[in-house]
Amino acid sequence: MTIKIRYFASLRERLGRSEDTVDFYEALTVSDVWYRANADQPLPVNVLASVNMDYVALDSVVQDDDEVAFFPPVTGG
């Protein structure tokens, strides 16, 4: 199964990339997805996460083909 990860704004700049792809064979939470792609990096404080463009809690479980995104607090408007 495959998950696409997207990063935005200051988090994208700090990681130096805007996307990752993670392959997996067992149940993963959003938080697990982060560590698969960023084993050496703790989840940032205040990070927001979405699955398929809806906000989710970090312990929600992902499905095959989901698009997971991580980003800092939003500052629009």
């Binding site: 200051s10 979405s50 939003v74 500052t75 629009g76 408007g77």
Partner: protein, 148 residues
Amino acid sequence: MAVKVCTGAFEPWQEIQDYQNAQISGGFGATTVFIGTMRDFNDGDDVKSMMLEHYPGMTEKQLQNIVYAARQQWSIIDALVVHRVGTIMPNDAIVLIAVWSAHRGAAFDANRYIIEALKTTAPFWKKEQLTTKQARWVSKNTDGYTAG
């Protein structure tokens, strides 16, 4: 109801006029508008320009959710949300929210709800380019109810 993400400058008063003429046939007694405009200073520094990043797709989805939630809470006839992305210069409009309703209470309350929800949940991020050549990400939005 419409939500729009613009990559170029927009004229807020013209946008409202055009939308109202095209979409709204009457029945509204109250219209409220909020426009957020880029200023040339922030946190004590001179800002030359701003880059507004967003999450295409999620932005529109969240804005639609916000407008839908406003419709659930207040009796409104129509609403328009326009938000700029990309490079923005001082005095450019960043965001426009217009609400049409039968009565003013709903028009004011729904408008303010929409801008507060947008500022806390719509996936936009501002990066400021200072006149000193430094660039910095805006780290958080102020609370619109208590901020002056």
